[in-house]
Point group: none
Chain length 226, copies 2
DNA sequence: GTCGATCTTGAACAGATCTTGAACAAGGCG
DNA sequence: CGCCTTGTTCAAGATCTGTTCAAGATCGAC
């Protein structure tokens, strides 16, 4: 569950926001003051923070800096009263990730929130892990594991497995696979692909008959089933 | 000098933008088509990319994805014709860092550009001290230690080791290493890299067979395992 | 310019990896 | 069932890759 912290004292803004974010499936924590907001960052560990620039107690920029000390990676979106203020904020370099001038369209803010969350996620789980069945594949380190134990795959075998596992349950045609794992215009008119599928199946322990992990789609290609 | 690449075919938008960005002290490269844009990313090495969603040749989203393959860290700001399109873009997850709906205030766009550059810079700062296994590397003093004892590394050897250790367990392709330690467009079609890996391994005492610190990923490149 | 350090290059080797064809198995269709 | 097509497996050999060495080129300090 994704938790969003909203620090905003103006109810005319917070009320509709809470409603929309709720329907979008987010878990929303709301505070009206900066100090409560800082506390909530620690206690509620939000995935993203929406921060009003003008708060009754502490300046939003100071809240931002304070939060940055503890959670430098937390995505923070600043809500500013006027677009002109953005220059100032950026100049001050408080460390917000995004700035949305009020008034804003709710859909736009939601889009920005999702964009920010996606970027944060991408940056954090940089090791792109593909899992399916007993297999785990890390495309960054180029290692593959069967039941937690590392497999010794060759380059082609790894590419092949990673491709199939990138879209589990999707059937890849032989042409697609050749174009992706081999060269775009390579045309080994032979049994090359089958041989690799064969050794790969053996290495990943897919020895039932017919195989259950890498499934043959006769006349078309292959499919990975997690 | 900070270089910004603007990919935009509509002159009513690009013309004022070029002017403002120029006065802001940026070095601006302008292309009108997506394919020229992709080329400019490689040849001009921009620090940030402004990308129109609708281009005469390639869809802006495809340009974005293509660029992401080579330069995953390049900040990309998408210019979208209408705010409503943002939802779509975000949903498609092409990997832009920010989305600015047209029409936009120039000051706001400039603010966003500066914010994005600041974030990118902060994220890029290499940690001064890298450790892994018996090795410790200080990128500031450019010294490396093996079990606390200083190593005598040449410049290339140091860069190579620092690069590999900057992301332990990540496999770097030969191309990535050459682009990073040597020049972007250097193409020593020879065994240069291997020779350096070889001497580096000897110096860091990685003499088991196969080596355990700098691991060969056959057909791809190398990986540091701490 | 000279000298030493560093970097690059090509050759030779070892070994891993890939490809190929053949033989066989399995499915599809009349 | 018989025939054709398609997929699987195997072993052999071709090809590709990485390692190391030694020599030559280049660079930088003096």
């Amino acid at each position: 569950m994704t938790t969003i912290l909203l620090v905003e004292d103006d109810e005319r803004i917070s009320e509709p926001l809470l409603r929309v974010l709720g329907t979008e499936g987010f878990d929303v924590v709301h505070t009206s003051t900066g100090s409560d907001g800082i506390e909530a960052v620690i206690t509620r560990k939000p995935d993203l923070m929406l921060l009003d620039l003008t708060l009754p107690d502490i300046d939003g920029l100071d809240v931002c800096r304070k939060v940055r000390e503890d959670r430098p990676e937390l995505p923070i979106i600043m809500l500013t009263a006027r677009a002109e203020e953005m220059d100032v904020i950026v100049g001050l370099g408080a460390g917000a990730d995004d700035y949305v001038p009020k008034p804003f369209r709710l859909a736009e803010l939601v889009a920005r929130i999702k964009a920010r969350l996606r970027v944060a996620q991408a940056a954090h789980q940089m090791p792109r892990e593909l899992t399916g069945g007993p297999l785990r594949v890390n495309t960054e380190s180029r290692r593959a594991y069967l039941d937690g134990q590392e497999l010794e795959l060759t380059s082609k075998e790894f590419d092949l497995l990673a491709l199939l596992m990138s879209r589990p349950d999707a059937t890849f045609t032989r042409e697609q696979i050749m174009a992706s794992v081999w060269d775009e215009n390579y045309w080994g008119s032979t049994r090359t692909l089958d041989t690799h599928i064969s050794t790969l199946r053996r290495k990943i322990g897919d020895d039932s008959d017919p195989p259950t992990l890498i499934v043959t789609v006769r006349g078309v290609g292959f499919r990975f089933e997690g």
